[in-house]
């Protein structure tokens, strides 16, 4: 499957003018994480579970508080985290895998983010329905009302 089109995966990347060691530190040092990401009791150890408090995302149902777990890592190369919404009733139904990948690029680092596990069966359907329902309503009230 061409996962550029995979609606269950979000991929981003960013060039940072700093060597992988610095970027890695920012990804794994709790004090630094608190500065740019979210405060939480992160520890670089596979199986470590921790909680991060961020901000809710209106429109997604995501509560903003994450129960996370370190799933895997390779120093200065890859860090994989499991994320669940701390609110089990969250309509976002978050059960995600977040993977940071670091690649040296020139004198800096290209940092890749993969956010996997969006559930098309629930969230996307819900969103699609609401978008389509809105679409239907617009169509119904517009000039196309006669057609339908």
């Amino acid at each position: 499957m061409n996962d550029a089109d995979d609606p269950t995966v979000l991929r981003l990347d960013e060039y940072l003018a700093h060597p992988p060691a610095r970027v890695w530190q920012a990804l794994t040092d709790p004090d630094l994480l608190a500065q740019w990401f979210m405060p939480g009791d992160f520890r670089l150890s596979v199986g470590h579970r921790y909680t991060m408090r961020g901000t809710a995302m209106p429109g997604t149902g995501f509560s903003g508080t994450v129960k996370a777990e370190v799933l895997a890592f390779e120093p200065e190369r890859m860090l994989r985290l499991g994320w669940r919404d701390a609110d089990p009733a969250s309509p976002a139904g978050a059960d995600w895998t977040i993977t940071w990948t670091l690649e040296p690029e020139g004198r800096g680092t290209r940092l890749f983010l993969t956010h996997e596990g969006f559930d098309p069966g629930s969230e996307m359907q819900r969103r699609a329905r609401s978008i389509m329902d809105g679409g239907w309503r617009r169509l119904m009230t517009g000039s196309l009302a006669a057609v339908l």
Partner: protein
Amino acid sequence: MRREVLRLLRERGPRSVQELASGFSMARPSFSEHLRVLREAGLVSERRDGRRRLYSLEPVPLVRVRDWLDPYERFWRDKLSALRHLLDDAETADTGTTTDSKTTDTTTCAGGPPYDSGGGPRADQDEERP
């Protein structure tokens, strides 16, 4: 009836006229007339697939489905931007300090040495190819 056709296309994907018509008790010419109206309204499109004509729902109202990831993408873009600023600012601050501050940072990292699990240092991680 036309809404029912749209629902079928939405739920089951592209369908030939025959497949669509089989769901309705209606003479084929009348059915084709309904399809024509939908087509002209831009709600469905028609393409040839061999000898069949396949009708699909036009993606206009659907193409935005991917938008539901937008809040998450914005979230990460914001975070990545914050990360870049943090690193850039730290670099600026570092130019006035000694270079071995990095070593100190590592040892003060909460939770002990950062490489304490996951198999330890890898043999291949230090080699840079020319």
